[in-house]
């Protein structure tokens, strides 16, 4: 009995087990892949004539996106000959995805577009999802603020976006006491006294605070400075797509518009559709938020998506005058109503 023969015995067995393990893992992976590939092929064959379109959300699905899911559920995209995929990107990456052709459309925000447009990123806003800016300052009622001015010198939770900070300073006053950080749950953070106020969206955080029976004040930015009735959120697309395939943009927007018009009229059913496509969403919050947001999709004439160029330009003028960008942006920079 030499060492080598013992080793040989040992090695022979362990070697084959390793091989077996590898094969098993590969087989499992392949098996797991198989149905997916199949269904892909199937749906491709089925949607033979449909044009593939990728729409990137701004982040996780919420009531700003309901119209897209309604259009998907009701087949409005199919009517236009489109096979739309709605994807969830990482936070604040929709513009990069659209600029790099990883997505055909994206959900984005006018203030976030500023630096992108300044750098010449080829994106254009083609439809406004909400007609008025839903952003405002959220604070606990117990703080006793009657207007944003009363928040001057109080602790402000910031994610350190220069434009947002300048916006807040403009309505509050120059004494910004910054508490940097990402507040996952604004209501809880306020209750925990981590800061006194935060820039938030009424349609989600404001409604959530109400649902939690937490008494809060919400000051819409636009009520204190008309310049801040900028557009958030908006639908953006790549400039190249606008040039090469304007028909596709028009068709997609037509389907989206139909979805949002439906969601405006049927908040409850639409909230259900949103939750169907994103079942991880809190149902009560989705419904409460939808009931509010549905009133915000359309303008006074019952139209969806139209921009008021004056409001758009007014905000970028202000951004330039604040010294937040080096060169002024031209009129109607990165925005158009032409494809609605």
């Amino acid at each position: 009995m030499s060492i080598s023969s013992m080793n040989q015995f040992k090695a022979g067995r362990s070697y084959s087990v390793v091989l077996l393990l590898l094969l098993m893992v590969m087989a499992i992976s392949l098996m797991a892949c198989q149905p997916k590939e199949d269904s892909k092929v199937d749906s491709k064959a089925e949607n033979n004539k449909l044009k593939d379109v990728v729409v990137s959300l701004d982040w996780v699905p919420n009531t700003n996106h309901t119209g897209l899911y309604v259009a998907q559920e009701k087949g409005y995209f199919k009517e236009q000959g489109l096979n739309v995929k709605i994807v969830q990107p990482s936070e604040d990456s929709a513009s990069t995805l659209v600029a790099n052709n990883r997505a055909d459309f994206g959900i984005y925000f006018q203030p976030n577009m500023t630096s992108r447009l300044e750098k010449g990123v080829p994106i254009t806003a083609v439809a406004a999802i909400l007609q008025h800016n839903p952003a405002g300052l959220l604070s606990l009622k117990s703080l006793g603020a009657k207007s944003p001015k009363d928040l001057n010198g109080k602790r402000y939770s910031t994610w350190e976006d220069p434009i947002d900070d300048a916006t807040v300073a403009h309505v509050v006053g120059d004494k910004l006491v910054k508490i940097p950080g990402e507040a996952t749950d604004a209501t809880v953070a306020l209750r925990m006294n981590q800061f006194d106020y935060i820039l938030a969206y009424y349609g989600w955080d404001g409604i959530h605070a109400k649902m939690q029976d937490v008494e809060t004040n919400f000051f819409f930015l636009r009520d204190y400075e008309p310049i801040f009735d900028y557009y958030a959120p908006v639908i953006i697309t790549n400039n190249k797509l606008l040039e090469t395939n304007p028909e596709l943009v028009k068709k997609t927007l037509a389907a989206m518009k139909k979805g949002y018009l439906y969601a405006a009229k049927n908040p409850e059913e639409s909230a259900d559709i949103l939750v169907k496509y994103a079942p991880e969403t809190n149902k009560e919050l989705a419904l409460a938020s939808q009931k509010y947001i549905s009133t915000q999709y359309l303008d006074d004439n019952g139209e969806w998506g139209k921009f008021d160029y004056n409001r758009w330009d007014r905000f970028y003028d202000w951004v330039y005058k604040q010294g937040l960008i080096e060169k002024p942006l031209p009129p109607q920079a990165g925005v158009t109503n032409d494809y609605l």
């Binding site: 060492i3 080598s4 080793n7 040989q8 015995f9 040992k10 090695a11 067995r13 362990s14 070697y15 087990v17 390793v18 393990l21 590898l22 893992v25 590969m26 499992i28 992976s29 797991a32 892949c33 982040w59 996780v60 699905p61 919420n62 995929k85 994807v87 969830q88 990107p89 990482s90 990456s93 990069t96 995805l97 790099n100 990883r102 996952t184 749950d185 209501t187 809880v188 209750r191 925990m192 989600w204 959530h208 939690q212 994103a278 079942p279 991880e280 969403t281 809190n282 919050l285 989705a286």
Partner: protein, 259 residues
């Protein structure tokens, strides 16, 4: 005779099982009491029972998402294993290759996942590819290092013996180096697997259609802390399960070593 010897062993096993879990049970009980008595408000920390409820309510959804995450982790680990084997043998065969590759592997390990994941998604799309790449990046380091160390732990006597018997390179690896490296390989594999799942989840945070990471971001934005904890526990449980499987495999394969 055997049954007599087995019985105390079984009861001892049960006792040790309870012993090893009593702390966990105690912590859960205290946790539950603290939340129920409202020492800690449940909007800050949901109670274990709330988490279980959320888990049961979302079970089918969690399983659907878990499937995608596990597939990503499996494919990534498999490819990572293959790369590791090839790379480790190349590094063991040639000192130059080792000196060239080692710093790169080390550097790769220092890249924060969260920084490159968004780039991977821009380069490779939202499908499974960028996620698998991320898992490969995470797993191949511990496995490669473990294998290289394992090959080098072979004693000089064994090497000399193989040389004196004029063993070919293939035989050297097949019968000596790879078997000897198995012990450290499994240590590396256990570390790698614990990275694999969490890397897949992080990749999914950054975009995609399905996966436990996608579930996580969505319940977070819905402020459903109980679902958040449910998915965290599920990920921990799956990781423990995977590592348990590797341990079992290791025991089976390396049994002869303890003879």
């Amino acid at each position: 005779m055997t049954s007599n010897r087995k019985r105390p062993q079984v009861s001892r096993q049960v006792i040790s099982l309870i012993k090893s879990h009593i702390l966990v049970i105690l912590i859960l009980a205290i946790w539950q009491i603290c939340v129920s008595m409202q020492f800690i408000p449940d909007y800050l920390l949901p109670s274990p029972l709330q988490i279980v409820e959320a888990f049961i309510e979302d079970f089918p959804l969690l399983m659907q998402h878990a499937k995608y995450t596990l597939v990503t982790a499996f494919i990534g680990t498999t490819i990572g294993l293959i790369i590791s084997f090839v790379l480790s043998i190349c590094m063991d065969l040639s000192k130059t290759v080792k000196e060239l590759i080692y710093p790169i592997i080390l550097l790769n390990q220092t890249i924060p996942t969260i920084a490159i994941a968004p780039l991977l998604i821009i380069w490779l799309g939202y499908g499974i590819t960028p996620k698998v790449v991320l898992v490969i990046l995470a797993v191949f380091f511990p496995i490669t290092i473990a294998l290289v160390d394992g090959y080098q732990s072979v004693s000089r006597e064994h090497l000399n013996l193989f040389k004196s018997m004029k063993a070919s390179k293939y035989q050297l690896y097949r019968h000596l180096k790879i078997p000897s490296a198995m012990g450290s390989f499994f240590t590396g594999l256990k570390v790698a697997l614990s990275y694999a799942l969490i890397s897949a989840v992080i990749a999914e945070w950054l975009g995609g259609y399905y996966g436990l990471g996608v579930y996580m971001t969505r319940v977070r934005k819905s402020y459903d802390l109980d679902s958040m904890f449910a998915v965290i526990f599920l990920i921990s449980f799956l990781t423990i399960l995977l590592i348990g499987f590797v341990k079992w495999l290791e025991r089976r394969m390396l049994r002869h070593n303890y003879l």
